[in-house]
């Protein structure tokens, strides 16, 4: 082999990233990744975004991935760089987001000696990655990177970590292109049983009280899944509800859309789940936030579950039909079958079902009253939605009440425009995530709907936003409380507000200004809309400190340990007694 054919392991890694379609990598340097940073310095086709904390690098990559459908890419150093990334990796695992994280490692001959900045990164990250590698043989380096991208993006997507000892990065190797041999063999997923598809289609046609319940799998399956689920809804004329992760898959203004379901879902969505006779779950996982008390979950329905991950089927809810596969592929078959049946059969009347649903809708479970000058947080979101609905708007959130209000009051018309930490519920997700989204969509309007406490968790990313001139809008619903914690303490712990007040808040306007960012503060309702206008029309980043009613609670709510039909609509709701068993739930 000619010496001039040889490149360093680090260069090979960067070439492999480019070959796998990576355009942007989010990272933070350190001793163990200096050769990789050197290779990045010399590579023109890869853009590196310097975050201010490795957790933020992963969330930024998640935002990038979720809003584009591509794999997000991360680079961190050994030891503390890798351990800082762990929360992000866990977040990506829980929400099935494709991410490849490269971490530096001490040179192979020092592994196991407690060397400076050595951590057992593959050991620590094993339970929070779909798969991980420690590359100890430079000859395998290229294959491993190629494989990492395949694993992250195929099947149920997830994070993959590749740990790269420094000596491997420096070893001279020959670059190996991605071969198109298939991913390593697994017994092929069973081909989809057409008999089952036809039975399911018949069930749907004959259902008197059907419900379609969609989740994040619809988003992961690509935009065509959203089109297909909407077709399914129309063909069956069924009500449809979406999980937190699925919002956007069906346009929120679709007449059959009942809103989000689950703990803070609408009354009509949860009651329809409870009383339906046929339930079809597409790409959701019967999460505990959705089902409420399991032994009272939708007691009288036939259940169908479509999921790409076989382990999701019958994990917590036993179903009558489990179909393993990609949502789009299965929905396509189902829609075709339904169209066929439509020509042959009378579809069961859903008149009484819809009039029942209209009764539930009349409860107006998301109703609230904006009066006086104090801003209701719900109103803040509603106004934000009205002002931004004509833009190509991407929303990220942190975690807490504001997140739920965003899910309830912001309407999503398209997939991939809503980025939130659902499974792990990571405060501090939204701001870095918005960095990734804005990088991917430089021309679009990107808003982080934030809570003041969550904002403080990753606010160092303001510096990243400034460096890359990202016009992210940070819309803080400032209630001066860890509102969601305060709410649970009010409901379940006798209003003993232990450590949930956000003391010593910064002046967000001054904080913004110290970064050279525009800061806004709104305290009165009649200034809200003009402030939102000002925020949107400003070219650069903005922090909008929206002072909202402090003690507002997020309703409706299924109290922990309760069932869908036991949901409460407000604090005075008499059913509001969390059971003994419910107190132990998270």
């Amino acid at each position: 082999m000619d010496d001039k054919d040889l490149i360093s392991g680090a260069e090979a890694v960067i070439n492999a990233l480019v070959e796998n379609g990576v355009e942007v990598i989010f990272g933070y340097p350190g001793g163990a990744v200096l050769p990789l940073y050197d290779a990045i310095f010399q590579n023109k086709s890869l853009k590196h975004i310097l975050v201010r904390h490795e957790q933020a690098a992963v969330h930024a990559a998640e935002g990038y991935a979720r809003s584009t459908g591509k794999v997000g890419c991360v680079l961190v150093t050994s030891g503390p760089g890798a351990t800082n990334a762990i929360t992000g990796l866990t977040d990506a695992l829980m929400d099935s987001i494709p991410v490849v994280c490269l971490s530096g490692q001490v040179p192979t001959h020092l592994i196991g000696t407690d060397a400076f900045q050595e951590a057992d990164t593959t050991g620590i990250s094993r339970p929070c990655t779909k798969h991980n590698y420690l590359v100890k043989n430079a000859d395998l380096l290229c294959d491993v990177i190629h494989e990492a991208f395949d694993i992250a993006s195929t099947g149920r997507p997830g994070p993959v970590l590749v740990d790269l000892p420094k000596d491997i990065q420096l070893t001279k190797i020959k670059y190996k292109q991605k071969s198109n041999k298939l991913q390593k063999m697994k017994p092929k997923p069973l081909s989809i049983d057409t008999q089952v598809i036809s039975e399911v289609a018949n069930l749907l046609i004959n259902a008197k009280k059907p419900i379609i319940y969609g989740g994040g799998g619809l988003i992961n399956s690509g935009p065509q899944a959203s089109t297909l689920i909407t077709q399914l809804v129309d063909l069956v004329d069924s009500p449809v509800t979406l999980t937190l992760m699925g919002l956007g898959a069906v346009p929120s203004n679709h007449k059959n859309f009942l809103g989000m379901l689950g703990m803070h879902g609408t009354y009509e969505a949860n009651l329809a789940m409870h009383h339906c006779d046929v339930m079809i779950n597409v790409g959701a996982r019967f999460d505990d936030r959705v089902t409420g008390r399991l032994n009272a979950f939708s007691p009288n329905s036939k259940k169908i579950h479509i999921d790409i991950d076989k382990s999701s089927i019958n994990k917590v809810v036993s179903v009558d039909y489990g179909i393993v596969g990609d949502c789009s592929e299965i929905l396509k078959l189902l829609v075709e079958e339904l169209k066929k049946l439509h020509n042959q059969k009378q579809i069961a009347s859903k008149k009484s079902w819809w009039s029942q649903i209209d009764e539930w809708r009349k409860k107006d479970s998301l109703g609230f009253k904006q009066f006086g000058s104090a801003i209701k947080p719900q109103q803040a979101i509603k106004s934000l939605y009205q002002k931004t609905m004509n833009f190509d708007t991407y929303i990220t959130t942190e975690v807490g009440q504001h997140q739920m209000w965003a899910a309830q009051y912001f309407g999503f018309s398209k997939p991939n425009h809503w980025m939130t930490s659902g499974g792990l519920g990571t405060m501090g997700y939204g701001l870095p995530s918005s960095v990734g989204v804005q990088i991917a969509h430089p021309k679009s309007l990107v808003i982080d709907i934030s809570g003041e406490a969550s904002f403080l968790m990753n606010m160092q990313e303001l510096s990243t936003i400034v460096q890359y001139k990202l016009p992210v809008k940070i819309f803080i619903l400032n209630n001066q409380w860890m509102g969601m914690v305060r709410q649970w303490q009010e409901l379940n712990h006798g209003s003993r507000y232990s450590e949930s007040y956000t003391e010593s808040l910064p002046d967000f306007v001054l904080l913004a200004e110290s970064f050279g960012i525009k800061g806004l503060r709104v305290e009165e309702f009649d200034k809200l809309e003009s402030a939102i206008d000002e925020m949107i029309s400003h070219k650069g980043p903005v922090i909008a400190d929206i002072r909202v009613v402090k003690e507002e609670n997020c309703f409706p709510m299924i109290p922990s340990g309760a069932a869908h039909n036991e949901m409460i609509l407000g604090i005075d709701d008499k059913k509001n007694n969390t059971s003994e068993a419910g107190l132990a739930l998270v």
Binding site: P127, H131, K181, M185, P187, N314, V316
Partner: protein, 186 residues
């Protein structure tokens, strides 16, 4: 954390023997074990060794316990692990053989030595080591047979036990060769 109420319908838990084919590489076993500890399943016995050098594959024989819903979960969770190639449920597939090897050291003097040898003979244990005050026996067979033998030995004196865990294989002429042939040799 997802905390669910206990299901009210209680199905009897049964013992199941699983047989896995996995890549023989660092981390694979850790992932398998981590799955069981992380998700609260139990491992009653586990045994692992390379069985195919060419393809670099190991077999893990694993005995676990649970309701059929739990076992189905365990199997599909195992298949999510990238280097786990094949998951077979021997208990479900049909008749299979389960065998284990035990090494039993017995410290014994006087009259009990004769008794120990007599029992070992009855069980067809091999005597691998003898001193004036001890024996080491080797016994293979069903775990229950090993249990019985070990119990008897314990009543004769101080013992030290080493067991391999169950190794299992299905009966009859069916093999995995076709499936294994699909696995690429790297």
């Amino acid at each position: 954390m997802s905390v669910y109420q206990n299901n009210e319908v209680k199905e009897e838990e049964t013992s199941r023997t699983l047989s896995l084919i996995v890549d023989n590489q660092p981390g694979t076993l850790a992932r398998v074990i981590g799955l069981f500890s992380g998700r609260g399943y139990n491992i009653e016995s586990l045994n692992v060794t390379e069985v195919d050098q060419k393809r670099n594959l190991s077999r893990i024989s694993l005995v676990t316990r649970g309701t059929s819903m739990t076992i189905e979960q365990i199997k599909s969770q195992l298949l999510r692990i990238v280097p786990v190639r094949i998951v077979r449920d021997l208990t479900l597939e049909g008749p299979f053989i389960k065998s284990e090897l035990a090494l039993v050291k017995l410290v014994v003097e006087g009259a009990n030595r004769v008794e120990a040898l007599r029992i070992a003979g009855t069980f067809r244990a091999r005597t691998l080591d003898v001193t004036l005050s001890s024996f080491i026996f080797e016994l293979t067979g069903k775990p229950t047979k090993l249990d019985a033998f070990i119990d008897l030995m314990r009543s004769l004196g101080d013992t030290e036990i080493s067991r391999t865990g169950v190794s299992a294989i299905s009966r009859g002429n069916k093999t995995e060769t076709k499936l294994l042939d699909q696995i690429q040799v790297n």
